[in-house]
């Protein structure tokens, strides 16, 4: 098990998944988001990957019922796309699209949701035939530009603003990071000095041994 201090530090930094760019509640008609890009960053796929790593957790945290799927191919010249699927029927009042389905790991997706990445069935399920409502080309774009494009397509989505406490926490965290960076330099200097002295001593001792 990871040391509790390291774990607690990670959990303190959970703030990043709650607030920041990408923390938005999508409009109710969005049924699924999928991305498609290369496994490597060459050929303009860097922004897409960064968007996945940084923004998608925030989107998923705020929209836990929206399936998000990523498929990655191996050719740098291949497409880099962001698909948004919508459905015309609005969701159930609590925002969930499939409250009637107790579990999806035993059965395939329901009629109103496109079958997504259910366990063990990602590649065996019948591929989703529905056309995405919007497809955004995200090649050669920064991750922030991708987010802007997404927001432009879905203007009804509601951006979650951090509360004053969270803002304060974010400021504290930034301060802490800055300080730790400075401390790291200091500690490194000290360590290097110690190592250098030890090395010198070792050399000196080696010389005396050779002389004797």
């Amino acid at each position: 098990m990871v040391n509790i201090i390291a774990r607690a530090r990670k959990l303190q930094e959970l703030l990043w998944i709650r607030c920041g760019p990408g923390a938005l509640v999508l409009p109710k008609e969005v049924s699924k988001i999928s991305m498609e890009f290369n496994t490597k960053i060459y050929g303009g796929h860097r922004g897409a990957r960064k968007f996945w790593r940084e923004m998608l957790p925030r989107i998923k945290y705020r929209n836990p019922s929206v399936p998000i799927e990523i498929s990655r191919h191996t050719s740098p010249d291949g497409p880099a796309l962001l698909h948004i699927y919508t459905k015309t029927t609005p969701n159930t009042p609590d925002g969930s699209s499939n409250t009637s389905v107790p579990s999806l790991h035993t059965q395939s997706g329901t009629a109103d949701t496109p079958p997504s990445s259910t366990p063990n069935a990602r590649n065996t399920l019948v591929p989703d035939a529905t056309k995405p409502t919007y497809s955004i080309n995200i090649r050669d774009q920064q991750h922030s530009e991708i987010l802007d494009a997404l927001l432009a397509k879905l203007p009804e989505s509601e951006v979650v603003r951090p509360t004053p406490e969270e803002e304060q926490q974010m400021v504290d965290m930034a301060e802490f990071k800055e300080r730790s960076e400075a401390d790291r330099v200091l500690v490194r200097e000290k360590l290097m000095k110690e190592r250098r002295e030890a090395e010198l001593l070792r050399l000196a001792r080696g010389e005396t041994a050779a002389a004797a």
Partner: protein, 296 residues
Amino acid sequence: MATPRSLAAPFSVTRLAASSLSTLRPEVCRFATPAYQTIRCATTSKTQPAKKKKARNTFRQYDLKKTEQFALVDAMQYIRAFEVGRNPSSSKYELHVRLRTLKNGPVVRNRLRLPHSVKTDLRICVIAPADSKAGQEARSAGATLVGEEEIFKQVQEGVIEFDRCICHIDSLQKLNKAGLGRLLGPKGLMPSTKTGTVVTNVGPTVRNMVGGSEYRERLGVIRMAVGQLGFTPAEMQENIKSFMDALKKDVSQLQDRVSKEIHEVVLSSTNAPGFTLNGEFKGPNSISPALLTGPL
């Protein structure tokens, strides 16, 4: 100080004092210069081991009051956000249970079948005569390999195409004679009564194993995969509950010799940090569990 010495000197120049001085002085002189560095080293190395602390025989535990604890639904919401875009069949929920226990005491080790199994493609080998009743039972329960000599031969050739191995009690002698311990032992596949893989009724054991998973305590922590990423909170709750019940039972069976208590339960997953659970299903600010039922 200078005057007393100069006064005392004429009086104290007896034979004894003079001889002791003369013997002392050359000694100091002889060793002073070359031994300067070595003496320094020797003194430092002598003082250090004297401070040696008594080694602790329990694992170090931290107070959990200061850490943030999560309800199951909250933890799952975070974990699902961390696992976004991953292949749900390759990522799993893991449970880590930390125990308050001795470092050198007996360890908890068992296997159980979760209500919702995590891994289903386990290949099981049963060592029993293929045409016997036990062999047929094993086949019907889902064993992939049943036999005696054929399997020994295969293993000796280095073909090990199974993940678990069970031996019927009547075939144990033959197995021991075949000398497979050196091949199967390092992989943890050698049947033995200690691990509960030498049994009389093969059928139920195999059935338990097909959906079952093993756990054991290592360095005071028990880790086990408890769910697929697509599980709903209710399914996860059932799995975690049954695992903890089984664990408590194991611990109580050990109780006559040692005391083990559960210190901390952490839920994590392949790509997410560990969330300390507070034992509740849902906190006051949690989202509806129905929101977490959908595909990832």
